[in-house]
């Protein structure tokens, strides 16, 4: 496997009960979190994105994140630590490849229980560096 570049960042999770909604906020040069989606750009090497999801309100801590990876019934679960979740994602999509979109769910502790919101993550090569 070629050299892996590591990029760290933080995403704020804004969750509301009425209406039941989630908004992701955060961005940097090679990634962005906006509304209900995260977009990750590729690089010259595979990129290890280390993104920390943090709730906007400590009264609505995160429980964890579930990844579906193509199946709704077999999931990878990343439990929260003190209300935050650290996502570690490898983006090895090359420029020109089709974009890959993954659905994941974020569990937020609300007043009536845990609700699982379902944003998406796009590994989008079109947002990557241009080929010279």
């Amino acid at each position: 496997m070629p050299e892996i570049e590591e990029i760290t960042g933080s995403i704020t999770v804004q969750a509301t009960e009425e209406p039941l909604n989630i908004t992701l906020v955060g961005s940097a040069e090679t990634w962005s979190a906006e509304g209900q989606s995260i977009t990750l750009s590729p690089g010259d090497h595979p990129i290890h994105y280390k993104l920390t999801l943090t709730p906007e309100s400590s009264e609505r801590p995160l429980v964890g994140v579930r990844f579906f990876l193509g199946s709704g019934e077999a999931k990878i679960f990343i439990p929260a630590d003190s209300g935050d979740v650290e996502l570690n994602l490898i983006n090895a999509v090359s420029l020109g490849d089709p974009a890959i979109s993954e659905v994941f769910s974020i569990g937020v502790q609300l007043s009536f229980g845990v609700h699982w919101f379902e944003p998406s993550i796009a590994f989008d090569p079109q947002a990557g560096p241009q080929t010279i």
């Binding site: 193509g70 019934e73 490898i90 845990v114």
Partner: protein
């Protein structure tokens, strides 16, 4: 940790999620003449899961997740991969990647979830919710081991197999 889960679907609330089935997978790495490809063996078993050794010399291990007949779904597995003492200090554990399994390109991962190692251990958690009679799901996994100058990746797979799970009523 006991996680209370509520899945709201069409007004139906399912939950809570049971405590995880906890276990340890031992990772044993042995140097070979090809420094880039150490011999990696996984071992371990527990309630509803087991690791099967490779069937062929150049194949990889398979982690089987098969709920017991009396287990209610979903089953949460919390498994810790630990580098065997005998493999240290020749190797250090870098982490585990999990990705879509493509039988045509089983070692080609473009998008993966990465679990970095801490103190030669990696903890991974899975949720198995395939009902009895459903189709098994396979994921690819790669285990990164470093000899100090080079990181090699071994490629076991994870099989979510429902055949041992509770029958549908």
């Amino acid at each position: 940790m006991s996680v209370q889960e509520q899945i709201v679907s069409d007004g139906i609330v399912i939950g809570p999620l049971a405590d995880p089935a906890i276990g340890t997978i031992m990772v044993t790495a042995t140097p070979t003449e090809d420094f880039a490809s150490p011999d990696v063996q996984l071992s371990g078993s527990g309630n509803g899961w087991s690791v099967a050794p490779p069937l062929e010399a150049d194949a990889s291990s398979v982690l089987h997740l098969k709920p017991e007949a009396n287990q209610s779904l979903p089953v949460r597995y919390q498994l810790t991969l630990t580098l065997a003492q005998s493999s240290r200090p020749s190797f250090s554990f870098q982490g585990v990647q999990i990705y879509h399994f493509d039988p045509d390109q089983p070692r080609f991962e473009r998008v993966a979830i990465f679990f970095p190692a801490s103190s030669d251990q990696v903890q991974v958690s899975f949720l198995h919710n395939i009902p009895h009679g459903g189709e098994p799901v396979t994921y690819g996994m790669s285990i990164g081991l470093s000899d100090g100058s080079f990181t090699s990746w071994d490629y076991p797979t994870i099989s979510f197999d429902p055949q041992a799970g509770p029958p549908e009523m």
